[in-house]
Symmetry: C2
Subunit: 452 residues, 2 copies
Amino acid sequence: MTDSTKYLLPEDKLPKAWYNLAADLPVPLPPPLHPGTGQPIGPDDLAPIFPMAVIAQEVSTERWIDIPEPVREVYRLWRPSPLIRARRLEKVLGTPAKIFFKYEGVSPAGSHKPNTAVPQAFYNQQEGIRKLSTETGAGQWGSSLAFAGSLFGLEVQVFMVKISYHQKPYRRALMETYGATCIASPSPLTNAGRAILDADPDSHGSLGIAISEAVEVAATRDDTKYALGSVLNHVCLHQTVIGEEAMLQMEMAGTTPDVVVACTGGGSNFAGLAFPYVREKIKGAKVRLVGVEPASCPTLTKGTYAYDFGDTGHLTPLVKMHTLGSTFMPPGTHAGGLRYHGMAPMVSHLKELGLMEARSYHQTECFAAAVAFTRAEGIVPAPESSHAVKAAIDEALRCKAEGKAETILFNLSGHGHFDMQAYTDYFAGKLTDLDYSEADLDAALSALPKMG
Amino acid sequence: MTDSTKYLLPEDKLPKAWYNLAADLPVPLPPPLHPGTGQPIGPDDLAPIFPMAVIAQEVSTERWIDIPEPVREVYRLWRPSPLIRARRLEKVLGTPAKIFFKYEGVSPAGSHKPNTAVPQAFYNQQEGIRKLSTETGAGQWGSSLAFAGSLFGLEVQVFMVKISYHQKPYRRALMETYGATCIASPSPLTNAGRAILDADPDSHGSLGIAISEAVEVAATRDDTKYALGSVLNHVCLHQTVIGEEAMLQMEMAGTTPDVVVACTGGGSNFAGLAFPYVREKIKGAKVRLVGVEPASCPTLTKGTYAYDFGDTGHLTPLVKMHTLGSTFMPPGTHAGGLRYHGMAPMVSHLKELGLMEARSYHQTECFAAAVAFTRAEGIVPAPESSHAVKAAIDEALRCKAEGKAETILFNLSGHGHFDMQAYTDYFAGKLTDLDYSEADLDAALSALPKMG
């Protein structure tokens, strides 16, 4: 062990390749299916909405996939990101555990999302696309794609979940500063949006609805493709730059993690940090991998592992994943980026294989953990990331109770500078532990597509 | 020249000492004077409001002053900060100039301010102080001291200029998340605040008023000291960590700057980047140093060089500086951190000695520059920093017109994540180029203290 606080990699240690977990899975991933035929989909089915380079990555089983130099060039604006030892937090908790966090909030958009926004924008530009459509929850993804689009000269249109659109006007302003346009979803601009508004004009929106709108726009225009910020294999792939860097940095620190923690909404920030460690676990390393989700949208802990649509409007292929049902409507908590009914098929697969654990927390206990973290380490976590903070603190307290000096590594996937209203509400005692409706969940689960 | 984009220093290159320009000034700085006696003040005069270690630094002429290890330990959370070459901006401008920026927005509070907040909190804690009072304009300084206070176990009370208090509720929320209390200034809590409110209940406040309130609180309580975020020598000293790092990083880049640019409110971010280059200039290096201020508060370009109070309530010593008069009330622009009637005595002295230049810009042209920068480089500048961006772009365009491949270095002193309302207003066409009242300025200047 060294006694540093921050572990920085020199720029030339920026990984040259992403790690593709598909190459090492002990059981292959169930394929995505065409909703009409029930048969595995091929590249042609995805071609209307994704560029070919991205489709190739989605189905690749190559272990390492080169990061194109123009992407690395942009990554260098903030990567390699720092690995920081939370020494003051350890002291406050009185734990013998060593707590490390990988800090992705140093990116221009303030989260891990640009790790995939940049290559997606690059591949689209390479294939002559002029415009990207996408959805966003809390706005982290939308502002990341807006950032990436501005660097590669692409127009970006973002469908933002309506509750977040109103809660986070400054995320919207950020997207607009990057030159993107931002639309509250459900919107009257698409068939999918109009259908929701007809049924419920006051709909708060959801990621599932916003995805339908963005996919519809891409599918109906030749010059436009769609970009997804989480869930899919290529997104998880791009995020592995986090874990590959972290591994080199933990080596600099002279230790390896016993527990790796990240929050899970669509699954990509967890994938980014954890997949390289899953590779080591498959090879025999002793490491626990913990995904943390909101109790109000408990996909991994309460969902069913089944084929389901990625969106509410049923425009996407069917993927096998943990799901609460594509019509499930999570309550409007502040962790907008975790309000998704499904989970990355790869992450779901790991859960089924017993290669990872999952747990859930309510939002007030996450904010309490985030405030303790802020006062010890100086960085204000995004509400999404506060779930990882809470779990890391709980692991550190377990170590204290058990007298174990374990090493805990968590992903501080973003800062909360655009989420200060949530902190204001928390301090004012206005935050409650919103729960989902059991009846809604039952209904959504019973509406899962019937297979074969 | 190397072809990198970002120049990172390894942690062990974090400077071990601050650079004190007082050691190299060709003409010594005029001393601060006691307002009652007109005589130079001694350490005892400052003891009620500052800890002794800070007072010693304020008057020191030692060239190098060691950075205490506990301060370096905290610095390492974000330092050394990156030096980035703005290659995309160069391309957009079509300039042969090479544009570099030192990015201080990576600190937990999002600006350069923690560079001095941390040592000030440390020295106060070492001397047994329990509480710090301070003022803040846009909130960058208040949140930085709140951050530093939380790490060293000090209570922090912040008087925030009222217009910013209302414009930037999330800066306030950030201070509260760090555990500080934040009060709109002018406030009814102090004599200074009450005097202003009696005269003008709708006062927007100003940094000068907020300083009076914070100084009054410190001067009247034994367990409380005052911390200032700019202007004074020790603050400029602490900020030189920026320039010392930048110098090493420019060496890595294989070039030296022909022009060094920073915005000037109280003068400390300019001092931080520029003072190490002033040292080289005094030794004979060819380098221009450019301070950039708002046209609405043009201290260096339109102010008088004279002895004046640092605050509106006339509680501080008299310092010789460029000033618009301590009663001058700048209009309520978005660059709250630049709305100060005075200027660091050291920066003012450099201007008088002809060692630096100054220029001013209106806010809309600064926002236009900031948007162009954001779309090229991905980072949204704080409204204050946008003044440096504008000047750097103008220098690059001058190089283009003159066909010169000069190297430009500017200080991107903070990000604009808490200032998105300003960008929203800018896009909505709601920002105007507010001007100060000439009559007010005349009145404020004619009210300058009569000396000798």
